[in-house]
């Protein structure tokens, strides 16, 4: 059973963590697509930006001598999310709104989002160089060990405090978003606009306000996802390029424009990635005696370097098999 616990440690826990990061990122992408009808390529960079804002705030907090039972990254997360939401609004105001007013096609907005990507990336690199940063230079990661009350089990289920908090944060964000979309007037207006923008406008919905709220939510969630990613691995200016593919894959797999689909897609991609790079030989080794062949040392489906291919292959399969995603998505 030790092997099973190892499986839980490496696959289930990291899959849940990765899945929540992807899900939170993909919700932003899918909301923007639903309302504004374009694939927002700068989302990965907005995540990186959010991560850096949180990093700066955490640095300030620890310099001010604030000590908390949770990592400072989580302590400052709400403030960072507010700042990131404001920045997202500013980005929309200065880059996308003028183009929308001119009546540009969604494709032009897509190209504009490349420009935004480059600008955000340039600014981050200008201030932080190209090195990598960690939230845990000054404080240690707290490790939880849970003993399994079963005979002859020596391993424990391990996870870190940030990982636990991340999952809790994601759950909170998802529940809050659910209530916002189904209960509040604005949330209903948002869903109406994502179903049919023209109809929403003629029925008296303030579409400009809806667009603003979309950017606030997307910016805040991007900041959260970026901070979580930075807490889980490390913070680098070029984090965005590694994350953009799984996030878009999650959003498309779930059906672009479908928030719940994005959550499902995020967890699907997260688990698929961890399952694919897991070394299955470890799990099969106890059964060696009953197997007709000898097990090789490494039996991962794909080598770790090719983790990225997993998201892509899932994306292609879904596109071929069900082009609108698992939940039926919107079209341009």
């Amino acid at each position: 059973l030790n092997e099973l616990i190892f499986f839980i440690n490496t696959v289930v826990i990291s899959g849940v963590v990765l899945g929540s990061i992807y899900a939170v990122g993909a919700i932003g992408v899918t909301l923007i697509f639903g309302i504004l009808r374009f694939a927002h390529f700068a989302h990965g960079d907005m995540m990186t930006m959010g991560g850096f804002i949180a990093f700066l705030l955490a640095g300030m907090a620890s310099a001010a001598g604030i000590v908390a039972p949770v990592p400072t990254g989580f302590l400052v997360l709400p403030i960072a999310m507010v700042i990131a939401a404001a920045l997202a609004l500013g980005i929309d105001k200065s880059f996308y709104a003028p183009l929308r007013q001119r009546g540009a096609r969604p494709v032009t907005l897509l190209i504009a989002s490349i420009g935004v990507t480059l600008i955000i990336q340039g600014v981050i690199r200008l201030f932080f160089g190209s090195g990598s940063y960690s939230f845990f230079d000054t404080e240690p990661k707290q490790l939880f060990r849970i003993d399994v009350p079963l005979p002859d089990v020596t391993r424990t289920i391990n996870f870190t405090q940030p990982q636990l908090l991340m999952v809790i944060c994601t759950a909170l964000a998802v529940i809050a978003l659910h209530f916002f979309l189904t209960r509040s007037r604005l949330g209903k207006a948002m869903r109406a606009m994502s179903d049919n923008a023209d109809l929403a406008q003629v029925s008296g919905i303030n579409t400009k306000l809806v667009v603003r709220v979309t950017w606030i939510i997307a910016g805040g969630l991007a900041c959260m996802a970026g901070t979580m990613l930075a807490l889980d691995v490390t913070l680098k200016p070029d984090l965005a390029f590694n994350i953009i593919l799984p996030i878009f894959a999650a959003a498309i797999v779930g059906g672009l424009g479908q928030s719940y689909g994005a959550i499902a897609g995020g967890f699907l991609i997260g688990f698929a990635e961890t399952l694919a790079i897991f070394n299955w030989a470890i799990l099969l080794r106890p059964l060696q005696d009953s197997l007709p062949f000898t097990l090789p040392n490494n039996l991962a489906v794909v080598p770790t370097e090719y983790k990225l291919t997993v998201a892509f292959i899932i994306l292609v399969i879904v596109l071929l098999w069900r082009p609108t995603g698992i939940f039926k998505g919107a079209t341009t």
Partner: protein
């Protein structure tokens, strides 16, 4: 219209002359060769996006393929590999690959023997799995053996121009596969899919140490024209030798660019180009007129990718080093998009103009930013705030910001580009 483009090109020429005067002949000849190689790549993207309206965010992947092709073809032969068991093991892996491909193909034809619906899907999945396991079973030991003994396969020792052609062929092959899977998807999906492809190509080429030496990098890759060292051996002074040899390389590149330009420009005016624009502007109408939209788009996707592959091969053989780790989406995908958008999508003169202008801006913004930062740093030191730390590394990041600003301004004030596509109206 015509006047405007002539003026713009004259201005560009003056700009190059000025930069050349400041930086010296050796630097400007280097810049010229690279910017014309980028012009070829920009022409490739201009076909795909400007003529055909296809989103390709995977340019980096095709450039890497071209680079790999020229490395593989023109690098000297690695005798140690050919004398070892390596070729035999690789041939077995190739055979396994072929068998796997046959199996998958067979499964996709299963409906001919009466297996349909869910059974066929199951059979196809099974065939893929079996093929993958068989291939991995053969390739893994081969890779281990080669990396343990000879290091990598080495090159073929042929002429670099053959390598450029092979780069085009390889890019065409990959573009065919990508196009078959992804074309017909919506614009946004195509963009994501091509990003995915290029990232996968990067992961592959970076990690296949047996084939590309991965992060160990391969150098020196030979030139089609005499190298500076060869000229120095003939008694040319060191500073002149760099200029002459680079000018020689430039001549070859110019020939390639001019041929590509003439072909592409002729195609634009011809029935083929007209059909492509019709498909771009309204593919439903074009389809109802009897045009096979998907296969025409596949055609144009492959054609553009070939030019990208050749351009990438030229860049790598000019730089003499193949380092898969040095390829980045910003430098090799988005830079080219900025070139085409700023220059004018759909107009070949615009694409070439954009390529030359943006590459110059990209290369020059580094020293300019360094100079600017130096000035500011002096001011802040005088004001008592101390100098800006790490000016060198910060200034080199400045060009990403400049690139982003350029494309944003272009989209805002000249959305059609500096030399826009001329829409001819027949009366």
């Amino acid at each position: 219209m015509m006047q405007r483009s002539v003026l713009l090109f004259a201005g560009l020429f003056c700009l190059f002359a000025f930069v050349g005067w400041v930086l010296g002949a050796a630097n400007i000849s280097l810049l010229l060769v690279q910017s014309f190689a980028y012009a070829l790549i920009a022409l490739g993207l201009n076909i795909q996006w400007g003529y055909g309206g296809l989103f390709n965010f995977g340019i980096m992947g095709f450039l890497m393929l071209g680079g790999f092709a020229v490395t593989f073809v023109s690098y000297p032969i690695n005798a140690e590999f050919w004398n070892s068991e390596g070729p035999f093991l690789l041939a077995r892996a190739l055979l396994a690959f072929a068998a796997g491909a046959l199996l998958v193909f067979g499964a996709s034809r299963a409906h001919l023997i009466g297996i349909r619906g869910g059974w066929k899907t199951a059979l196809t999945v099974l065939a893929w799995a079996v093929a993958y396991i068989v291939y991995r079973g053969q390739i893994d030991p081969a890779v281990q053996y080669i990396e343990g003994s000879a290091g990598w396969v080495g090159g073929l020792g042929l002429h670099p121009v053959l390598g450029w052609l092979f780069g085009g062929v390889l890019a065409a092959g990959v573009a065919y596969i990508v196009g078959r899977i992804c074309l017909g998807l919506r614009t946004d999906y195509l963009a994501i899919a091509t990003i995915g492809i290029s990232e996968i190509l990067r992961a592959l080429l970076k990690n296949m140490d047996w084939l590309t030496r991965g992060t160990l990098t391969v150098s020196p890759i030979p030139w089609p024209t005499p190298l500076p060292q060869a000229l120095q051996a003939q008694g040319v002074s060191i500073s002149d030798s760099f200029v002459y040899s680079r000018l020689g390389f430039l001549a070859v590149v110019l020939v390639v660019v001019v041929i590509a330009f003439v072909l592409v420009q002729r195609a634009y005016g011809g029935p083929w180009g007209r059909m492509m624009r019709a498909i771009r502007d309204n593919h439903i109408a074009a389809a109802s007129m009897g045009k096979n939209v998907t296969s025409r788009q596949l055609e144009i996707f492959i054609l553009g990718s070939v030019m990208m592959g050749i351009g990438g091969a030229i860049l790598v053989s000019f730089g003499q080093i193949y380092d898969p780790g040095s390829f980045q989406p910003i430098n090799h995908t988005f830079l080219i998009w900025v070139m085409v958008i700023v220059g004018g999508a759909g107009n070949n003169w615009g694409a070439v103009f954009g390529a030359l202008l943006i590459y110059l801006t990209w290369m020059v913004s580094d020293p300019v930013a360094q100079w600017l930062f130096g000035m500011i740093s002096e001011q802040t030191t005088q004001a008592g705030w101390g100098p800006i730390p790490e000016i060198q590394s910060r200034a080199s990041q400045m060009r990403v910001l400049v690139l982003g600003l350029v494309i944003t301004i272009a989209l805002r004030f000249a959305p059609q580009g500096l030399i826009p596509e001329r829409v001819r109206r027949e009366r």
